[in-house]
Symmetry: D2
Subunit: 138 residues, 4 copies
């Protein structure tokens, strides 16, 4: 059920101690599309250059990882280890919130592949990512 | 001169506001090999699972990005934008400090490619990474 | 003009000696979307396992590279070197023709990023790819 | 036994119909290092630009895939599907033979990660690659 899914996703996002610092929030869920969007609200300590608002590449990579992982949870309803992560940086972030939309490309029996688009409110594309997850429960 | 380089690298590592939170430190420099090692001292807020010490994948990705970027500075002596970043997660981190050794594979006129190995003290391999940088001063 | 573009793309696809062996053909162009689809007609020598029709991973990687490169030509109207290429293999190919749809994600002044979906006629997804190109004319 | 391994690797390299066209040969094995080198002897039909000897990026990608796969066979002694493949193109090839040295970075129970360096005789680096394989026998 949609509310169950949202509650499960929000729980997954809230759990990791690192997330308590980064502060990702579930923006929207497109369960029928196996997709969701995570928002990373802007904070000064995300900056790469002193006095400039743009986020550090590691924050953008974190947004890709977190959104991709949350999307896989639509299928697995539980944690899954990341096998690998790729981030293509398209434009410097301006320091606005990051919106990371993650969509499952394929979720097989053993492996899941998720595509992520990171943009800013208004639609400015900041990064494109891909993540692979190991889905087997052992 | 080696001291100049070390000072330049330490300045680059100290600058970004995000680094003040993450806390990367220059562990060693192998200038002749175009390589260096950055240490990320362990902190509880890096954790992925409550009550477990292992680091979040985004922290490992940050270690790859930061070490690779620092290595490129051996050549450029200044900031360079990241074009893309890849991280292969080899083993879950145990929550020990991360040691990210970055080595320049190629630094051309326009693009630089850096290979990174992330391990824990004692040599346990945690991740392998690659990063591409844009070196052109425009 | 659309016909000019198609002619330019077909010329780019026909030129490389390697393409004369692989045989990629321009399937369709969505110029307004900065996207196009290249077809790789099936041939027995593309196989990975003797007596089985499925294509070798290198053929799928070639489809990603060729389609991504052709898409960048929509903007550059000329050859551009590949900086890096990534292929996520989603399913074993069945030996049907490959349809590689490439879409420009970002084409800046210096770098271009292209996303590719490789599928078989009927829509079976085989691979997802990303390629980065260097666009600067020096 | 070393001869058994070499025979097993040569059989794996000889099997795929695609390899009969590409012509990869086992150059050397460093079994203790979980590494080996595959040579792709130069052929005019590998060219990217008519009248120029440099190889097409898809041939370089094929060298990465084939060498990485062969290296994993040191451990598995059998075929394993490629999960994903990454190639960083460092320099245009000159049309000399390609030497792809693949080294296992990690071979766990389920997944294997292999790093590949593609160079030309004399040591000119052409590309750096990484490949992930699924090792589970199901």
């Amino acid at each position: 059920m949609a509310d169950d899914l949202r509650a499960c996703l929000e729980a997954e996002l809230a759990k990791p101690p690192f997330h308590r610092w980064l502060g990702p929030v579930l923006e929207s869920v497109e369960a029928e599309a196996d997709a969701l969007t995570v928002r990373i609200p802007a904070r000064p300590e995300f900056a790469r250059i002193p006095g400039e608002p743009g986020f550090h590449g590691a924050i953008v990579a974190g947004a890709v990882d977190i959104a991709a992982h949350a999307a896989i949870v639509i299928r697995t309803r539980g944690p899954t280890p990341t096998v690998d992560l790729r981030v293509d940086y398209l434009r410097a972030s301006t320091g606005a919130d990051l919106l990371a939309r993650a969509e499952i490309v394929r979720a097989g029996r053993s492996l899941g592949t998720v595509r992520v688009d990171v943009s800013e409110p208004g639609g400015r594309a900041v990064a494109a990512g891909m993540a692979t997850f190991y889905l087997r429960r052992d």
